[in-house]
Amino acid sequence: MKNIKYYVCPSTVKEALAVLLSKKYKAMALAGGTLVSKTLPDTVETYLDLKNLPIKGIRLQGGNLVIGAGATFDEIDRSKLCRSWAGGCVSRAAEACSSQLVRNMATIGGNIARPHSFNIFPVVLLGLDAKVRLQTKKGAQLVDFQDLYSSGLGLRPGLDSLITEIVIPVKTRKWKCEFIKLAKTASSWESYIKLFFSAEKKGKSVIQARVAVGALSPRPFRAPEAEKALLSGAGAEAAAKAFAAELEAARAGEYRSSAASSLFKRFVNSL
């Protein structure tokens, strides 16, 4: 932080991107500031404050749930739209983040801009097949959330591009979902494991399933064997066993694997 020379607070995305891409400024985007302010790389010379950008708000667009990257956790927690979407799991995830003082500041865009084990939203967005709209030097791009952290994308949000909104597809609106943060205390930022389960039934059959896992690594991942077991109607016990095996393979350790598979079993039994 000692090297900060400029503070820039633009009012349009175009201006913000121009500053990010300018060699003069060596800027880094600052959304809520809860993560960046204490971990700013020495190479950064400019705070690019995003607070005045028109990238806030939560709305329906074409049936999809669109969350502005500048929406705070508190706004997402209190949003009627988020509370009614996918059983309210988006709001519950926001509520599970740290404390009210952090929720007042932290934004969803900031939470997903850089991969980190303890970020809340990545596991939920992965499970909900979300897309992320980015503003880059080539224009706006809509990318699958699961590709956001891939090197193939060639982008570093906050340093050479800006996340402007998150799009959660309409198909997930009625999904039965569960988000669980297993942590020492409810307000702990750190957690042992984060879980996202979802399923959609038609008659007695499960026609879609998502099982996503966070906190074990900076990037969340899906558990395909557990999803397959759920879709095949193998039963709660078999699905939980498949999930536990995947967690063991991911080096989750005995406690996490055992707890997470029990929670998954409970979810399957609730369907």
Partner: protein, 172 residues
């Protein structure tokens, strides 16, 4: 470009900010938190506890919203409005929340109280008749090592009732 740009001079930003309703021009260090800047300029009611965003002692209202002063870079308050505990009330004319905290015996060492009262103020501004769960949620980032949080919750309930006007019952 309409972009507002401030450049440091010898490691300091010059910012304009309204603190407790009074317009001020402050020099803040390029790496200084809002908490440190406020304390250095004399607003010592804002307390420095953990300095990592965990304890809430440093909470101030920035543009009406409680934020962690230790995490917010001071320069980001430029052209904003800050309310510290000094701006809420005085010894002679305390805010109903301050009165309620004293009357309920919610203050022991007092270190966490400025942040707690500012968090409570924001809660009551947007939820005049909060439930106990809403009060606890609003204060979940304000740690108190002296008490068990019971008296503070009672104080917020009492202040809410006072601010709404007597006679209306609190929600369960």
């Amino acid at each position: 470009m309409k972009t507002g740009i401030i450049e440091t001079k010898k490691g300091f930003f010059e910012i304009t900010v309204a603190i407790n309703g009074e317009k001020k021009e402050l020099s803040v260090k390029n790496d200084e938190s809002l908490l440190d800047a406020l304390r250095r300029h004399g607003w010592k009611g804002t307390k420095k506890g953990c300095d990592t965003g965990d304890c809430g002692s440093c909470a101030v209202l920035l543009n009406g919203r409680p934020v962690l002063g230790c995490l917010a870079p001071a320069v980001t308050a430029h052209e904003g409005e800050i309310t510290t505990i000094e701006g809420l009330g005085s010894v002679r004319a305390p805010h109903p929340l301050q009165v309620a905290f004293v009357e309920a015996g919610a203050v022991q060492c007092g270190f966490c109280i400025p942040g707690m009262i500012l968090s409570s103020k924001h809660l009551l501004d947007r939820t005049p008749n909060p439930t106990e769960a809403e009060i606890r949620k609003a204060l979940d980032g304000n740690l108190c090592r002296c008490t068990g949080y019971v008296k503070q919750v009672e104080a917020v309930k009492a202040a809410a009732q006072k601010l709404r006007g007597k006679g209306k019952r609190a929600r369960a």
